[in-house]
Amino acid sequence: MTAYVQSTPTGTPPATRELSYAEAIREALRQEMRRDPRVFLLGEDIGVYGGAFGVTGDLVHEFGKERVRDTPISEQAIAGMAIGAAITGLRPVAEIQFSDFITLSADQLVNQAAKMRFMFGGKISVPLVLRTPAGSGTGAAAQHSQSLEAWFAHIPGLKVVVPATPHDAKGLLIAAIRDPNPVIVFEHKLLYRTKGPVPEALYAEPLGQALVRRPGKHLTIIAYSVMVGRALAAAEHIAQEGIDAEVIDVRTLRPLDEATLVASVCKTGRVLIVHEAVRTGGFGGEIAARLAESEAFDFLDAPIRRLAGREVPIPYNRTLERSAVPQVEDIVAAARALAQE
C-alpha cells in the first residue's frame, strides 16, 4: 500500500503538540507502560540518571526501579535478559546505550532472539524491543558513532526500525512494543532534540510501511533516519532550480515496504538512495537491488545512484566527521547530477 500522507488515528483530528524525538520516545514508553503492566525497561543508566541521552528521563519516578531497571554494564546480559523475560510473559524494552555496543549483544540478538521461534518450530514468540542510539554527528568518534542497521536487517527473525521524526519515533516504538517479534529500533542521536508534531493519543505506526514525505516527479530520493530531513532540505533547495524530487522515508528496513519504493521510481524514473552507513554492505545496496529486480527497472531513465557514508570509521575531527557522511549539499549535488543524466 502506498501512503502519501502521514497516517493518523481515525475520527476527530487528534490533539497534537510539538515534542522532541526524545520526548516522543519517552511518551511512547510512558503510555505503553501505563497501558500494559507487562512492559518494562532495562538498560544502563536509564533510571535516576535518565539515560545517556535523557530519553528515559524521569520514568523511574513514576514506575519505580523494578520497571525502569538500571543494569550493570553487561550488554550481552541486557539482550539475553530481554529474551528470557519476553518468552515468559513480559514485554521488555531494552536499551543499548550506543548502537556500537550492540556488538557485545550480537549473539543474543542474532543467534538467540532472531532464531528462537523458527528453531523451536513456531512454538514460541520473542516480543522484545531493543532501542539504541545510532549515527554520527556528535563528535564521539569511531566507537560511538556507527550505523550498523544493515547488519541486523540481514537477519531473518529480526525487525529493524529507523524512525526519522518525533511522530514516527513514538508510533513506531509503540508498534514495536506490541509486535510479537524481536524489534531493534535505531534512534539517531542527532534527532533526539529535533521537534515535530506528535499526537497525545496512543497510536501505532505500522511496521513495514514507507512514507512519501514529499511528492515529486523528476526523481525519487529514498532515505531513512537522519537522512530524511537532509533529503527534504535538499529537495527544497533543488526545487528552486526546477527539479521536483519525491522524498521517501523507508521507516522500517525489515519488513521493507518495497511497493511504495517501486511505485515512486516507476513514476519518476530516477532514484537516489541516501544513507549514513558506509556504502559497502549498506542497506542502500539492498534497496537498489530490489528496484533493479522490479518493474521499476523498465522505467529507469538513469542508473540507480547511491549516496552513502565514506569507507572510513567515523573520525573525531568535526570537519572530517561531517565529511564522512552525506550532508544536505552532498544530496543536492547528487540529486542535481542525477536529474541531468
Binding site: 518494562f40 546480559a77 535478559m81 521488555p92 521461534r117 523458527f118 518450530g121 512454538k123 514468540s125
Partner: protein, 312 residues
C-alpha cells in the same frame, strides 16, 4: 526412585539409538551425546517442580527427556520430521518443549545463561512461584555470558539454579588447562552466592544439592552455582577422534557409570530386584524402538511452509 533409574536408562538408550541411526545415515548433521552424564540431568530435574523452567545446552538430550519430553517427538526431530518438537527446523541442538518448561537447547556455548537470567527476572517481577535452572558445561564458564548472567542474577537475587555439568572437556580443552587450578564452583564467591562442587555421577548427591538450591531460589534468596563433576564417555561430537585423552581415562570413568551405580544402590537397598531391573531395561528399549518407528513413519516437512515460523 525406580522412576529416576528408568529416566537415566531411557536417556542412555535414546542416545545409543541416536548414535546408531547417525551411523546408518538416518540422522544427519552432528550430535553431542551425554552418555555418562545421565545422573546430572535426572537428579537435577527431579529436584524441580514440574512447572519450573530449564534452559539446556548443545548436549541437552538428557535434560529434555528428564524434563518429560516425549521420546517419539524427540526422535522425530532428530530425523527432521514434521512431527518433531520443532517440526524439523531445530534438530538435536535446538530442541525445546515449551509446554513442558524446557525453554530450549542451545547451539551457542553459554548462550542460554543470559536468557536464564531474564527468565529469573521475569518470574521474580511477576511474583511467580516457579524457578529457572540453567544447564551449562565447563566450557561455558569461561564465556563472558556466564559472568554477566551470574552477576545479574546475584545482584537481583533471581530464582535461578546455575547447574554446571563439568564433564572435564570443552571439546578437546581439558579443565586442567582451561581453569587456573580451581573448582568452577569457586567462581560463585566472586558473585557472593553459594557455590558447591558435587559428584555428578551420584544421582542422589545431585538431587540433594539441587533441592537445597531450588529451595533457596524459591524462597527469594537468589541463585546458586552448582558444579557437578562428571564425564562424557563419547567424543565431543561425531567428528571427535579422542586424540586428547587416553583410553585408560575413559575406562576409569566408565567404571563409575552413574546408571549401574544407582541400579546397584536400589538393589542393595531392596527397592529393586534383579528381575525387575531387567524388565525395566527391556521396557525402555521397547519405548525407544517405538520412538524410532514413529519417527520413521512421520512425514517430512513441506518446504512451502518454511517461512511461516520466522515471524509470529
Amino acid at each position: 526412585m525406580i522412576e529416576l533409574l528408568r529416566q537415566m536408562e531411557l536417556i542412555r538408550a535414546f542416545e545409543e539409538m541416536a548414535e546408531q541411526l547417525y551411523v546408518r545415515g538416518l540422522i544427519h548433521g552432528t550430535m553431542h551425546l551425554s552418555i555418562g552424564q545421565e545422573a546430572c540431568a535426572v537428579g537435577a530435574i527431579a529436584a524441580l517442580e514440574p512447572r519450573d523452567f530449564i534452559l539446556s545446552t548443545h548436549r541437552g538430550h538428557g535434560h529434555c527427556i528428564a524434563k518429560g519430553a516425549d521420546v517419539r517427538r524427540m526422535m522425530a526431530e532428530f530425523m527432521g520430521k514434521e512431527t518433531g518438537y520443532c517440526r524439523g527446523r531445530g534438530g538435536s541442538m535446538h530442541i525445546a518443549d515449551v509446554e513442558g518448561g524446557n525453554l530450549g537447547a542451545n547451539g551457542i556455548v553459554a548462550g542460554g545463561l543470559p536468557i536464564a537470567a531474564g527468565v529469573g527476572l521475569s518470574l521474580k517481577m511477576q511474583g511467580r512461584r516457579e524457578i529457572c535452572m540453567a544447564f551449562f558445561g565447563d566450557g561455558a564458564a569461561n564465556e563472558g555470558a556466564f559472568h554477566e548472567a551470574l552477576n545479574s542474577a546475584a545482584i537481583w537475587r533471581l530464582p535461578i539454579v546455575f547447574f554446571c555439568e563439568n564433564n572435564q572437556y570443552a571439546m578437546s580443552m581439558s579443565v586442567r588447562e582451561a581453569f587456573p587450578g580451581i573448582d568452577i564452583s569457586a567462581r560463585a564467591a566472586a558473585y557472593n552466592i553459594p557455590g558447591i562442587t558435587i559428584d555428578g555421577n551420584d544421582l542422589l548427591a545431585v538431587y540433594d544439592a539441587v533441592s537445597v538450591a531450588a529451595q533457596r531460589a524459591r524462597a527469594g534468596h537468589g541463585p546458586t552455582l552448582i558444579e557437578a563433576k562428571t564425564y562424557r564417555w563419547r567424543g565431543h561430537s561425531k567428528s571427535d577422534r579422542n586424540l586428547y585423552r587416553t583410553q585408560e581415562e575413559i575406562e576409569q570413568w566408565k567404571a563409575r557409570d552413574p546408571i549401574a551405580r544407582f541400579r546397584r544402590l536400589l538393589i542393595d537397598e531392596g527397592i529393586l530386584d534383579a528381575g525387575r531391573a531387567a524388565e525395566l531395561t527391556q521396557a525402555v528399549k521397547a519405548e525407544i524402538a517405538e520412538a524410532v518407528a514413529f519417527a520413521e513413519a512421520s512425514p517430512e516437512p513441506d518446504p512451502a511452509s518454511m517461512e511461516d515460523e520466522v515471524y509470529a
